[in-house]
């Protein structure tokens, strides 16, 4: 794919890295908010190529990881009911609840289905009028518009057997929570490009000003990430702190007006609990009063579930950028993708999964700054 190749070009990457090296004079800690960016960084070895002064801290932007344990347990309970078709994105199926996961429920006879869009779940509801179809509506601002659209359509079609189990979270309140934590080390942010493509950048200037941090809207390909880092370091070295859009091919200042209208019509801002982090005020959405009838939590009466995280799991600290996954004592021993303690080890965007998949060497994780010989970068064959 030519378009993607352009964002993987080793020559351009070297030029950006040279520029970052030439700019940096002292240590800086940048947080990439999105788990998709974390995986791209680790998968392409970007952190290994950066100068030692630039540290990347992995943020809480993995939607699967931050979905609270009590909501996972609600999902497991609903999915176990014989009259229910429970629909979810694939990467939720291995996330551990208190005593099992959705795969286990499926293996025990629950009708759990992987779908690629909430509209697929809506279609299932239309074709199965005698079953209740529930869609597990998790995620950040990126997935909210399509989920809102599904509920909107369900009402328009008069479908009474469709509902959402909602656990939507919003990025700006999470940035606020990270910056106000006493242990915060973050000096600049690579803001998640997909989130901004929906929401625009209007929520960010106040955050940049209040906490005096650069916020650079960044994409997901290797060159996108290097460009985001270059701009953030440039601002930090000059003592600046403003919002910059380094992902203009996808992000406009005003966001996507149609998507925003759909979110506004169906959802309302609510306090949310983040797995591993705890409650953050106004950090999520729930269905608004007009659409409350489509709320699976109430339809199935699964309120009041209380849970406890495994004591050995330090996913919360990983999600807040306080430790690297490999600093957790359970990493790779008591906690693996096969037997995960926390969602960060199973999610396709989880930081622990990224380190386990891409950095687990027999002699420990690859050190920062390690290189391979230049000739190995040349295509062969």
């Amino acid at each position: 794919m030519k378009y993607i190749d352009e964002f993987n070009d080793p020559g351009l990457a070297r030029r950006l890295l040279d520029e970052i090296r030439a700019t940096v004079t002292r240590p800086w800690a940048l947080m990439e908010v999105c788990g998709g960016q974390t995986h791209s960084i680790i998968r392409h070895g970007i952190d290994q190529l950066l100068p030692q002064e630039v540290e990347l801290i992995h943020g809480p932007g993995c939607p699967v990881c931050v979905t609270p344990l009590d909501v996972i347990d609600q999902a497991l309970e609903i999915a176990s009911r014989p009259d229910v078709i429970f629909c979810s994105f694939g990467d939720m199926l291995r996330v551990p609840g208190s005593d099992r996961d959705l795969f286990r429920v499926k293996g025990e006879g629950g009708d759990v289905r992987v779908v690629y869009s909430p509209l697929d779940a809506l279609d299932l509801a239309r074709r199965n009028p005698d079953r209740q179809v529930v869609f597990f509506a998790i995620g950040f601002e990126t997935t909210a518009p399509a989920n809102a659209m599904a509920v909107h359509q369900a009402r328009r079609l008069g479908l009474e057997n469709f509902s959402l189990l909602v656990s939507h979270v919003r990025v700006p309140p999470a940035i606020e929570a990270i910056m106000t934590a006493p242990s915060c080390r973050v000096q600049g942010f690579l803001a998640a490009g997909h989130v901004c493509s929906v929401m625009g950048t209007a929520e960010y200037p106040d955050l940049a000003e209040k906490h005096r941090v650069p916020l650079v809207v960044t994409g997901f390909e290797p060159l996108d990430i290097l460009e985001g880092i270059r701009r953030a370091v440039h601002q930090l070295e000059r003592g600046e702190h403003r919002v910059e859009n380094a992902y203009p091919r996808a992000v406009q200042e005003q966001g996507n007006p149609a998507a925003l209208r759909m979110i506004e019509e169906v959802f309302e801002v609510a306090d949310r609990n983040w797995r591993g982090i705890g409650p953050i005020p106004a950090s999520g959405w729930r269905l608004s009063d007009a659409f409350r009838a489509y709320d699976a939590e109430h339809r199935f009466g699964v309120t009041g579930i209380r849970t406890e995280e495994p004591a050995a799991c330090r996913a919360g600290e990983v999600l807040q950028g306080l430790i690297k996954p490999t600093e957790c004592e359970a990493f790779g021993t008591a906690c693996t993708p096969r037997n995960p303690l926390g969602a960060t080890m199973v999610s396709s965007e989880g930081a622990c999964a990224a380190y386990y998949l891409y950095r687990r060497m027999t002699d420990g994780p690859a050190p920062q700054g390690s290189r391979i010989p230049q000739e190995e970068m040349n295509p062969v064959g």
């Binding site: 990126t142 060497m361 295509p379 064959g381």
Partner: protein, 329 residues
């Protein structure tokens, strides 16, 4: 379901359930086909079951897979496949025209691969207890003298070759199974590889390892070879041929092409002194025209596969746990 995905869970099921139950030195080799000594002849023997949905997909069908899969498993030990058996499990109520179409595909694929369907079986299960049509095939073939191909023979220095673009079969099946359309038709690569292998063996009988990276993809196959031989594998990401349409589809779904299934590709570990000549004959063969040198076997990091990324970093390429799952966003 993860236990059938060709990843770590599949290996676990084998190691924990089947190997202890049947344990014997031949099975313990855990190769795609067993090489048996029968009255002085070296016979490769293999069996496999095919449960793909849908039964027909761009570029192939269940019938093609059932023949090519077993033919290729035999070929991966260097054998010339000769005879196959087929066992059909039909679900009550399946349209007879569908069964006929599958059977014709089996016949055509056998003819293309140069094998004879020598025996067979048919069973019918009650409605709701099957998925239309399942096929199991078994096959035998003769291994030429002097040929000893198995994962344990990988050695540091071996060149790692792949016979063509990867990921096409998995994406082709997903594109119809999941109702996804990617704007271009992606056809499965399903094909018999025995003739390609015979051509490679004409260059040298000293090919160390052959593997067809089916379920679990290139990633699973290379990990199995690294573990079986106790050597490391080092790949160059930019050298691995991944078609644009596979890159696009996998990007959309959040899947890694290195773990997507193939049905008409092989990976070969060849002593370095023969690598260039083997690569040349592969490229001259219709089944290997897209062949590439993608890395080498190393003494470092024994049992592990490490990828040099296009940008100059490195990452581990681990055995996948089970099936890959599409991501949320």
């Amino acid at each position: 379901m993860g236990h059938g995905g060709g990843g770590a869970l599949s290996a676990e099921l084998m190691e924990q359930v089947f190997t202890p139950a049947y344990g014997n030195p031949t099975l313990a080799a855990l190769t795609d086909s067993a090489v048996l000594d029968l009255g002085g002849a070296r016979v490769a023997f293999s069996t496999d079951s095919y449960v793909v949905r849908p039964l027909f997909f761009p570029g192939g069908s269940l019938g093609d897979l059932a023949v090519n899969g077993t033919v290729n498993d035999l070929a991966m030990s260097g054998a010339r496949p000769a005879y196959l058996s087929t066992a059909f499990v039909l679900e009550e109520g399946v349209d007879l025209a569908v069964v006929e179409r599958v059977a014709r595909a089996v016949g055509a694929a056998a003819e293309r691969a140069g094998v004879t369907i020598a025996t067979g079986d048919t069973k019918v299960v009650e409605s709701g207890h099957g998925d239309g049509v399942y096929i199991s095939t078994a096959g035998v073939g003769l291994v030429p003298d002097g040929v000893d191909i198995r994962p344990q023979r990988a050695r540091p220095g071996d060149a790692v070759l792949v016979s063509g673009p990867i990921g096409l079969h998995g994406v082709a099946v997903m594109s119809v199974r999941e109702g996804l359309e990617f704007g271009v038709e992606i056809a499965s690569d399903t094909a018999p590889l025995a003739d390609l292998v015979a051509t490679m063996l004409e260059v040298t009988k000293d090919i160390h390892v052959l593997r067809d990276p089916t379920r679990g993809g290139l990633g699973a196959s290379l990990n199995e070879i690294a573990r079986a031989s106790g050597t490391g594998v080092r790949l160059r990401e930019r050298a691995i041929p991944v078609p644009d349409e596979v890159v696009n589809a996998c990007g959309f779904l959040g899947l890694d092409p290195l773990y997507v299934a193939n049905e008409g590709r092989l990976v070969a570990f060849v002593p370095p002194e023969h690598a260039e000549a083997v690569l040349a004959v592969m490229r001259a063969h219709p089944q290997g025209s897209g062949a590439a040198l993608i890395g080498e076997c190393v003494a470092d990091h024994p049992g592990m596969v490490v990828v040099a990324t296009g940008l100059g970093g490195t990452r581990v390429m681990d055995l996948p746990l089970g099936e890959q799952l599409p991501r949320i966003c």
